[in-house]
Each structure stands twice: as structure tokens, then as C-alpha cells.
């Protein structure tokens, strides 16, 4: 049992931190203010081959695991890029997995390399208004027509849909009433985001303004048969495979963001002199920051345990959920504590921690709320009755 990064993993972490150091705190601040996608960052990460970290070599990836992907995404967030940087490349890093596992060799070669090279951007469209986390009840309908499907429906909280060329879409191919089980009858597609049939509307939101979240309205979008991933009706089972990696990455990112927040706070506390001494000399400043450090590192152990189990092919649902929960809570407390450490200056944008605080709410809420995680642990680990 080893709790340390291997030499190779440390090299990845350091290389990513070094790469990301090209993009300064002011770069991220400016993009957040303008609400502009970090095109330069996305392009540079794609060109340096990072987007394919967890993709097989056969499609232009590096063939590494979710552990390495988590280490990379953590370093991306920790560099000061936060959730803005992470979310701008999150899709390619983990959500192409269904194509690797269930796509044909032709689909893999056609769909994956352009995304990894950064020539195309993608979005991942599952969630819908009204159904929340009750995914099997989604209403977007893909109806069989000659040569493919005709799709109508609405999606919400679709990151990057406004800049994406491709959409990975979950839609119902068999009506719920006609299915024996509610998890049946859903299908997964990866297709052109044809703006003649797909309208995207940015959702005004609290943070991460540079990476937009959208409402997506799909009207008579034709999807050819060859853009369906896996068998018809198997979509739910297919996307379930990606849920744990997503939680692991979000958890790793939350820890990264928490780390940069307390780093900034500690730096400020060392330098800021009030009453003739640095405020960092006060235990009232030290102890909350030290506690945040301990919580972040403990959460990270759970996240990495989940990643390691996933890469070994072991069950990791409980660990991935617990890790995401712990990391997001610790990340939130770290960003909040950083802001309190900086006091009034923390509220000013130029000190960056207020941006972190707005962004850390994302891994706290997404992709699954803390409430649902606690429900899951209560039910699966503690064997308590299902509460919902």
C-alpha cells in the first residue's frame, strides 16, 4: 500500500503545473470577467497531447489511467486555472470513454482524434430540466427514421454547448411505457452539433463565466445510424460506466482548487502586516488554514483510492462518491477560509480567491449533489432503507 505518487505520476503532475504556469492568474481573471472561452489554453493543452491522457494509444491517446487523468486535472485546477481551466478540457479527458468501450473501430478513429487534437470541441448532453438526477426519465426523444433518428427535446446545464462542434447525447429511443425496465430504451449518440437544429442559450450563473453552461433546444435533429454509440436501448448502461471517473476527476479538481486557495491565503497571511506583525502569526489565521490543508489532503487520499480502484477494474462507486463529497466540502471550506484570511481584499477580484469561491460551488453541486451521495452511502454501505 503506497500513498505516494510514482515517479511517472510526479513527472506528469510537474509537467502539467509547468505547462499551466504559462497561463497567469490575470489570464483567468480576465477571461472570467469577459466570459470568454479559454481558447489559447484549450489549444495548448490539446497540442501538447494532454487531452488524450486516458485514451488508448490507438486513437492518439497516452493510454494512461483515470489516476493519471485525476493527477493532471488536479494540477490544472491547482495552477490557478481552477474550474475554468478544468472544465474547458474536462469533456475530452473523460467523456469519450463510451466510444472507446462501446464504439466500433471506425467510430473510434472518426470521432476521437479530432477532439484530442483540439480541432473539434465537444459537449456532453444528458441532464434535462424537470428530471434532475432521475436520468431514466429524460424526455428527449430519438425517433427511428430512414437511415437514423430524428431527435427532439431539451437539455440543461450543458457545458460548452455554445462553442462545441460535437454533442454526445443521451435520448430515449423507446418510450418509457414500452420498456420493461426504466433503465432500458435510452441510446447514446455522438454527432455533429448542427446549429440549424440545435439552439443553445447560455445560463447566467454565479461563477466560471469563461466556460458557459447552456440550455439546449433540439428540434428535428437528424442523427445518422452510424453516430449511435453501442446498441440501441443500451445508452443508460453505457453512460453509467463514466459516472465514477467523472466523480473522481471533479473530486481531484476540487482538491486542486482548495490547494491554490490556501496557498494564496498563506502567502497573504505571511505578508500582510497589521498591528506591527504579519497576520499569519496569529493562530486565529493559522489554524483554519492548517485544518483546510489536512482536510484537503485526507479527501485527496479517498479520491486517489477511488481512481486506483477504477484503474484496477475494481468496484469504486462508494469511494468515488465519498471522495467527490469530501473533496468538494474540503475545497469549499478552503476557498471560504482563504477569503476570510484575506478579509476585505479577498472580496476584491484582483486577489483571485473570490473567483475560486464562486467556482468551488461547481464540484460541490455537480455532477451529483452531496445529498444524493450521502443517500447512496447510507443505502449501499450502511444498509439503510432507500429514502427517496
Amino acid at each position: 500500500m503506497s500513498y505516494d505518487l510514482t515517479d511517472d505520476q510526479r513527472q506528469i503532475r510537474e509537467a502539467v503545473l509547468k505547462h499551466c504556469a504559462q497561463f497567469s492568474d490575470d489570464y483567468w481573471l480576465e477571461l472570467d470577467e469577459k466570459g470568454e472561452f479559454p481558447f489559447d489554453f484549450h489549444r495548448s493543452m490539446a497540442e501538447a497531447g494532454w487531452l488524450g491522457i486516458a485514451m488508448p494509444e490507438s486513437v492518439g491517446g497516452a493510454g494512461l489511467g483515470i489516476t493519471e487523468a485525476a493527477i493532471m486535472m488536479q494540477a490544472v485546477a491547482e495552477s490557478g486555472g481552477g474550474m475554468t481551466a478544468a472544465s474547458s478540457i474536462h469533456g475530452p479527458v473523460f467523456s469519450l470513454e463510451p466510444i472507446v468501450r462501446f464504439g466500433t473501430p471506425e467510430q473510434q478513429q472518426r470521432m476521437i482524434p479530432p477532439i484530442l487534437r483540439g480541432e473539434q470541441k465537444m459537449c456532453f448532453a444528458v441532464t434535462e430540466p424537470n428530471v434532475g438526477l432521475d436520468t431514466t426519465r429524460i424526455r428527449t426523444r430519438a425517433q427511428r427514421v430512414e437511415g437514423g433518428y430524428l431527435v427532439n427535446g431539451e437539455k440543461i446545464w450543458i457545458t460548452n454547448a455554445h462553442v462545441a462542434d460535437k454533442i454526445m447525447l443521451l435520448a430515449r429511443t423507446t418510450p418509457l411505457e414500452a420498456c420493461k425496465r426504466k433503465t432500458e430504451g435510452l441510446s447514446l449518440f455522438f454527432t455533429d452539433l448542427d446549429r440549424r437544429h440545435v439552439e443553445t442559450r447560455l445560463i447566467p450563473k454565479m461563477g466560471r463565466h469563461a466556460v458557459g453552461s447552456n440550455m439546449v433546444f433540439i428540434t428535428d435533429l437528424f442523427i445518422p445510424e452510424e453516430d449511435r454509440i453501442g446498441a440501441e436501448g443500451e445508452g443508460f448502461r453505457i453512460i453509467l460506466q463514466g459516472l465514477n471517473p467523472e466523480r473522481i476527476l471533479l473530486g481531484a479538481e476540487a482538491v486542486g482548487l482548495g490547494r491554490v486557495a490556501i496557498k494564496k491565503a498563506a502567502q497573504y497571511a505571511r505578508e500582510r502586516v497589521v498591528f506591527d506583525r504579519p497576520i499569519g502569526m496569529n493562530q486565529g489565521i493559522q489554524h483554519p488554514l492548517a485544518k483546510c490543508w489536512a482536510q484537503l489532503e485526507a479527501a485527496n487520499l479517498m479520491v486517489m483510492k477511488a481512481a486506483s480502484r477504477f484503474d484496477q477494474g475494481l468496484d469504486c462507486g462508494v469511494e468515488a462518491n465519498a471522495g467527490k463529497y469530501l473533496a468538494a466540502e474540503a475545497g469549499f471550506e478552503a476557498c471560504h477560509t482563504a477569503m476570510l484570511t484575506l478579509g476585505g481584499m479577498g472580496y476584491a477580484k484582483e486577489y483571485h480567491v473570490e473567483r475560486y469561491l464562486r467556482e468551488v460551488l461547481i464540484p460541490r453541486i455537480a455532477p451529483v449533489s452531496p445529498h444524493m451521495i450521502l443517500n447512496f452511502i447510507a443505502e449501499k454501505v450502511l444498509e439503510l432503507p432507500k429514502s427517496y
Binding site: 510526479r10 513527472q11 509537467a15 501538447a48
Partner: protein, 250 residues
């Protein structure tokens, strides 16, 4: 042409170093280590020579502890072809390193050796010059431009107050200054490829080099803490203090 590049494992330039409490050296426990920035520039220059078709092989060599393999891997990820680690105690003197490098050069027969002008830990700025002298080769130090022309290399040197250009017969030794190039960022595919590139491990004794120290480190201490300034009432008092206390004007 084969290009040999020397790289050193040093404390990362972002780290604020602290002496050990007993003053016997710099505290390296849990300190982030990295490739010396000037050595990284040397690697980049060699890789660019290879990309331009001037060099056909780039060999990186490090003289240092086992962990210096990490820095060799970094250099391999930037594009070097193979590595040589001469495993030795961490703190060798420049003369010992130059002797080791000389032995490696005699074995490898490079057409050009590129080193950083100095390492950011010791700041000795000696190894390149010593190596050139030991080999009897020409040296172009503090390079801001390196152009290989046939059997010669033209090196633009950053000297006090301007630039000096020298032409050296190959083989030669070049040391890099800050403005020679901007090293690239290692790409993930190249990091993966670097894992498969060979690193040979040898020791000074196997190369027939005696690396025993000739100097003894007596102590390391931090610079004195900055003291607060003072306020002066008028220009006369300022001039008086500059003349009689600071003694910076006559």
C-alpha cells in the same frame, strides 16, 4: 554530429531555500527539485540542432544522486535521445564534474558539448570552462546564439556591455545564457516516449575519475533579515547620513 548536454538536479527556482539549523548546508528535505534552468536551455538548444538536421543524436548526462534520473527523464521528454547518469554523492565540486564529463566525452566523442553557464544552486560558473580546458577544446560561454557552420560553431556571447561573437573549431564546449532560447513544454506523448528511452547508469570510479573534494564547506547562513528604514527630517540630514553612516558618498 552527436551533441552531449550536461544537466544538473537543483532546487527548483521557485523554492525559497533555507540553511539547515546547524549551518552545515542547505536543507533539502522535502524540497522540490528540478532541472537547472540553464541546463534546460542547453537541452532545448541541442534538440533544436537535431530538428534542424545539424545534430543526429542528443545525449544527456547528469552527475549526481540516483534521483537525478528524474531530470534526465525530463530532458528525454524534451527530445534528447538517451541519458547517462554518473551516480555520485550529490555535492560534487565543479572540477570533479568537469573531469567526469571529460571522461564521458572521451567515450562518447561528441561534436559539441552544451552546458548551462552555471547552476542556480552553487552559482560557480566553472564547469563548462574547466571541461573545455581539460579537453583542450575551444569554448563559447554565455551563448545567446549558436550556429553550426561546417566544422565550426559561431557563438554569440553575452558579455558586459554588449555582444561578442566567436568562431570555434569543433568539437567545442558551449555554455548557455538566459536568452539563448525559451525551452518548450514537455508534451504528454513525448513524456511517454521518454519512458522507453535508455538511461545508462555508471559511477565516477568506473570512468576512472577521482571525485574527492578539495575544498571543505565551513558553513551556510541566510542573508541578514532586512531592517526597517528610517525617516529623515530634511535633505541635510539625508546627506549627512549617506556620508557619515552609510559612507556611500564622499
Amino acid at each position: 554530429m552527436k551533441v552531449l548536454v550536461a544537466v544538473k538536479r537543483v532546487v527548483d527556482y521557485n523554492v525559497k531555500v533555507r540553511p539547515k539549523p546547524d549551518g552545515s548546508g542547505v536543507d533539502l528535505a522535502n524540497v522540490k527539485m528540478a532541472i537547472n534552468p540553464f541546463c534546460e536551455i542547453a537541452v532545448e538548444e541541442a534538440v533544436r540542432l537535431k530538428e534542424r538536421g545539424v545534430a543526429d543524436e542528443v545525449v544527456v548526462v547528469s552527475v549526481g544522486p540516483t534521483q537525478a534520473q528524474e531530470q534526465l527523464r525530463t530532458a528525454l521528454a524534451l527530445g534528447a535521445d538517451r541519458g547517462i547518469l554518473v551516480e555520485a554523492e550529490a555535492d560534487l565540486e565543479p572540477l570533479a564534474v568537469a573531469k567526469v564529463l571529460k571522461a564521458v566525452c572521451e567515450r562518447e566523442q561528441p561534436g559539441l558539448v552544451i552546458l548551462g553557464k552555471q547552476s542556480i544552486d552553487g552559482d560557480n560558473n566553472q564547469t563548462g570552462q574547466l571541461l573545455a580546458a581539460l579537453l583542450g577544446w575551444g569554448q563559447g560561454t554565455f551563448a545567446s546564439e549558436v550556429v553550426v557552420e561546417g566544422d565550426r560553431v559561431r557563438v554569440t556571447r553575452e558579455v558586459d556591455g554588449g555582444l561578442q561573437t566567436v568562431s570555434l573549431r569543433l568539437p567545442a564546449v558551449v555554455t548557455t545564457d538566459l536568452r539563448l532560447n525559451e525551452p518548450r513544454y514537455a508534451s504528454l506523448p513525448n513524456i511517454m516516449k521518454a519512458k522507453k528511452k535508455p538511461i545508462e547508469v555508471t559511477r565516477p570510479a568506473e570512468l576512472g575519475v577521482d571525485v574527492a573534494r578539495r575544498t571543505e564547506l565551513l558553513g551556510v547562513e541566510p542573508p541578514p533579515a532586512r531592517k526597517g528604514g528610517i525617516k529623515v527630517a530634511d535633505v541635510a540630514e539625508l546627506v549627512d547620513k549617506l556620508r557619515n553612516e552609510a559612507k556611500v558618498i564622499g
